[in-house]
């Protein structure tokens, strides 16, 4: 498979992957004297599930923060939809259609699941605070419209039963799902997932994997995710970037990566199966 062609490719299960959506060109990120990321280049294509893996401290989360625009690299360029992206504020990134979840769940604990997911719609709401407080006419219509979108997502992720439950009372696995719901509520074209399956048991992992695949399938959302669990990554993603000590040591389909000697040495240790 010549996946480096600019015109996209077809996955083994028959999904058509489009052209380049986002491209990292020679990214280097430093925190004072510490080099978190050294000269990394890769791309994310329309409609694909792209994983970034690597041992602890490899720089995965930093990479995700560069993609999300939270960190501005000292060197290198970020290209998004054919244009170089200038340093941006988080809300500008959100407006571009990029949404994310966090490794250490960042939900509003005191609010209900519904309200949390509704916050994901903020970029789609135009009425001002005062109008929303009075809640008449346009503001009311707007909330109803957005609530419809949110309800579809609640249905999609099967969290109807906890719609009105305060997030603080939920178990960890469900919180993760609520976070995904909030990210989806923004109707992103690019969804960034920071360790979506960390700390989950096998069953929860399977559920989450299914949801990720369904999101990609149903909404055509491009997904970039960081993950520890190798089994999950290999099953889920179309292409994988492998990082170690801030450097890229591998890039390709799961099977290519699995057979890459540098990757085996650095991360997997022993080839499974």
């Amino acid at each position: 498979m010549n996946q480096m062609s600019t015109e996209g490719y077809v996955t083994p299960d028959g999904r058509k992957i489009g052209g380049v959506m986002m491209e990292m060109r020679n990214i280097t990120l430093r925190f004072g004297g510490v080099k978190a990321i050294t000269d990394i280049s890769f791309d994310i294509r329309e409609g694909e599930i792209r994983a970034i893996i690597g041992p602890n401290g490899a720089g995965k989360s930093s990479m995700l923060n560069v993609i999300s625009g939270f960190y501005v690299p000292q060197e290198g360029e970020v290209w998004f939809r054919g244009a170089q992206r200038p340093p941006m504020k988080p809300y500008q990134v959100a407006q571009q259609g990029i949404a994310r979840t966090f490794q250490n769940i960042a939900l509003f604990e005191g609010m209900s699941v519904l309200d949390n997911v509704m916050t994901g719609r903020l970029t789609h709401m135009k009425t001002g605070m005062l109008a929303q407080a009075i809640w008449k006419g346009k503001a009311e219509r707007e909330e109803v419209e957005n609530r419809e979108v949110v309800e579809k997502i609640i249905d999609f992720l099967e969290i109807q039963a906890i719609r009105k439950t305060p997030v603080a009372r939920l178990p960890y696995g469900l919180k993760k799902r609520v976070e995904l719901a909030r990210a989806l509520a923004a109707e992103p074209s690019l969804l960034l997932l920071d360790e979506p399956m960390a700390g989950m048991n096998v069953e929860e992992k399977e559920d989450m994997s299914r949801f990720i695949l369904d999101v990609n399938d149903e909404f055509g959302t491009t997904i970039a995710l960081i993950e520890h669990d190798m089994g999950v990554v290999m099953d889920l993603s179309d292409r994988v970037v492998v990082m170690d000590y801030g450097k890229k040591i591998g890039d390709g389909t799961p099977s290519e990566v699995r057979n890459n000697q540098a990757v085996i040495d650095a991360y997997l240790g022993v080839a499974h199966d």
Partner: protein
């Protein structure tokens, strides 16, 4: 292929014709042209056109369909089915949760002369394979991807299977759609072709009468393979009519449809009675939201197996433990009053003025809010059936002013055999014969009945039909019981085939003892052995929520059911329960032999996925006996502990093993044989 199937069907038909004679003579033709479910639908669309018929909560809002809407949906679907090639006499399997669209599918199936066969949606693919192949379903209606996957997994073995229609398209886009159809698409195509197909639909519908098949339901089968019970329109419509009259059900009732669609009760409540009286059927958003949805709907007519009432009561008690002292006091005080006078007030019996006032006060402070929380505020008629209900649980609900009653029935009777009339409600009987039902007790103590609801035949199983139903239409229930002198109420002792004799000739009725054990909130399930032996032994399953809560309060840490079940303090508690039961069993001279000498707590919960229970959660005694043979041996040989390894099946069909060492306890038994002899 088609020819073949027809030939196989005909003997059963003939046999049915012979036996149908007695039914025909006693059937009332009061139905007045309302001889099929589609005919009832037509009447309802005219008479109750704009009244809600079905509701379903979706996207957080209750969506409503009026009777007119339902007629339109069913017509479009029926046309779509003809368009897809459904022939008269075809079988259409329906697999999924309680969704209005699936109920309509059953009506649409009948409209085109096909037979709907609802299946238990939580069955594993393997279990479905048997039923789908046995009825030779050409068409399957599946709720979602999960069900579609199961059917695809087994489709190689289903020789007659051709098309599948699904409701929820999610995740199915990439599937091969050559034999897979979207529900709405089928409806649209039917609607588009209505000009050419409408006359055919009319023709097929006009052919339906009281004798045509309304639905086929597979019994869960505590023994052997499931049997397909064929129920005619007469069975369904007359049973619905009689039972609706009995409780004066009207078009204003609201019910919540949450029990499996494959179960006869759900068909009678959500289709039979709903179509007969025109009341509204509400479908919950998902199984998990059932409790919230129940509260939002506030049904007026409510059915639940004893297990649901038990769980609700357990939850109430657990939450009361956490309540403030003031609330606890209120609850205790007023519940004491309720227990004393509540049932009498409900039955309209004389109660002193002071008690009445206290009860009114209690209604404001405790009963009203509690009923509201349980979603039972508006319940006018509540039923429980399927198993014996603990007297304390039963009385709890009645004392709150909820008119909870018992009925006794089975699939073969189209539910109703006996029902409790208002004012004659007790926890230890199952009521008087339902309207139109004749009752008879056989020589061996088995209960027989004859009614308009008596099923037509078991599909492709004339031997079993003949075993169950005699030439005069009497059906054996398989339960042993007696009719109480004076009140005329029926009392059930046990399954007739489970009733046996101990080695010394005393009566062995395991269910009787098991029920007494299960009435304790800590005990979820019990299985008693002892047929043909000197003494009785028992397996116990603890109730994880009740015992778990108790463990939390007593600082006992545990990580799994298995660990909690093996805790010595839990064993102590269960031992106390067993000994109490023994004391009460000993008082009954006939059943005193059933006292439990030794017991153990099983290391896993009995589960339908492992075949140990039916999908309606009845224990399959034989299978449990075979599977845990080593444990039974250990119970009888006097050993103090036993190591065992058990295969478990996960929900997705994979298998695993759990091993455990179980402690066996001796329980105190009361020897009254001496007394008995003295008395003789």
């Amino acid at each position: 292929m088609v020819k073949n199937r027809r030939r196989r069907r005909s003997p059963a038909r003939r046999e049915n014709g012979l036996k149908g004679g007695s039914d025909l003579t006693q059937s009332s033709q009061a139905a007045g042209g309302l001889v099929s479910i589609p005919a009832l639908l037509q009447r309802n669309a005219q008479r109750f056109g704009d009244k809600p018929a079905y509701r379903e909560k979706e996207f957080g809002i209750w969506q409503t369909w009026t009777w007119k809407d339902v007629q339109r949906e069913v017509d479009n679907l029926a046309l779509g089915l003809i368009n897809l090639g459904v022939n008269e006499g075809d079988f259409i399997a329906i697999i999924g949760g309680n969704r209005p669209h699936l109920y309509w599918s059953m009506v649409a199936a009948q409209s085109v002369g096909a037979v709907p066969v609802p299946l238990y949606q939580d069955s594993a693919a393997e279990e479905m394979a048997y039923v789908l192949d046995h009825c030779g379903a050409r068409f399957v209606m599946a709720e979602d991807q999960e069900q579609v996957d199961k059917v695809i997994e087994i489709q190689d073995r289903l020789h007659q299977f051709e098309h599948m229609i699904y409701l929820d398209p999610r995740g199915l886009r990439k599937y091969d759609h050559s034999s897979l159809h979207d529900f709405r698409h089928v409806q649209e195509q039917g609607h588009a072709a209505r000009d050419e197909l409408a006359s055919q639909l009319e023709k097929r519908r006009a052919k339906l009468d009281m004798a045509s098949i309304c639905v086929m339901l597979y019994t869960s089968g505590t023994t052997g393979k499931p049997k397909g019970v064929v129920l005619s329109n007469r069975n369904i419509i007359e049973s619905a009519q009689n039972s609706s009259d009995f409780d004066k059900l009207g078009p204003g009732e609201e019910i919540l449809a949450y029990l499996p669609m494959a179960w006869v009760g759900d068909f009678i409540f959500s289709v039979g009675q709903a179509f007969w009286t025109g009341f509204c059927v509400n479908c919950p958003e998902s199984p998990e939201t059932m409790v919230t949805d129940l509260r939002e709907i506030g049904p007026t007519y409510y059915f639940a197996p004893p297990r649901v009432f038990e769980t609700q009561l357990t939850n109430v008690m657990i939450r009361m433990e956490d309540a403030s002292r003031m609330k606890k006091w209120l609850f205790r005080t007023f519940m004491a009053t309720a227990r004393r006078v509540g049932p009498d007030i409900l039955d309209g019996k004389p109660v002193s003025f002071m008690d009445r006032m206290t009860y009114k006060l209690g209604e404001i402070f405790v009963y009203g809010p509690l009923k509201n929380t349980l979603g039972l505020s508006r319940v006018r008629i509540g039923y429980t059936a399927g198993e014996a209900i603990g007297p304390e649980i039963f009385d709890f609900y009645r004392s709150l002013g909820i008119n909870l009653k018992q009925l006794y029935g089975q699939t073969e009777a189209t539910v109703f055999i006996t029902m409790q009339p208002d004012g004659e409600v007790r926890s230890d009987t199952v009521g008087v014969p339902a309207p139109g039902v004749e009752l008879r007790i056989g020589d061996n103590g088995e209960v027989y009945y004859r009614s308009p609801g008596v099923f037509e035949y078991y599909y492709k199983n004339p031997e079993s039909t003949a075993d169950t139903k005699d030439a005069e239409g009497w059906v054996a229930t398989g339960d042993a019981g007696f009719i109480e002198e004076g009140s005329g109420h029926l009392r059930i002792i046990d399954r007739a085939k489970d009733v046996g004799k101990m080695a010394d000739g005393r009566l062995f009725a395991p269910k009787y003892v098991e029920n007494k054990l299960k009435f304790y909130p800590n005990i979820l399930e019990a299985v008693v052995f002892g047929n043909g032996r000197d003494s009785c032994m028992a397996f116990v399953n603890i109730d994880l929520s009740a015992v778990g809560n108790w463990a939390e309060r007593n600082n006992i840490s545990y990580s799994s059911y298995q660990e909690l079940a093996g805790h010595p303090k839990v064993l102590d508690a269960v031992q106390a329960h067993v000994e109490e039961v023994n004391r009460s069993v000993a008082e009954d001279p006939i059943l005193s032999g059933c006292q439990i000498h030794r017991f153990l707590i099983l290391h896993k919960e009995l589960d339908a996925d492992d075949g140990e229970m039916t999908r309606t959660r009845k224990v399959r005694r034989r299978i449990v006996e075979e599977k845990y043979n080593d444990l039974i041996t250990a119970l009888y040989d006097g050993s103090e502990r036993i190591s065992t390894r058990t295969e478990v099946t996960y929900e997705d069909g994979r298998k695993g093993y759990i091993s455990a060492t179980l402690e066996i306890r001796d329980a105190k038994v009361h020897d009254n044989s001496a007394q008995k002899m003295a008395a003789e």
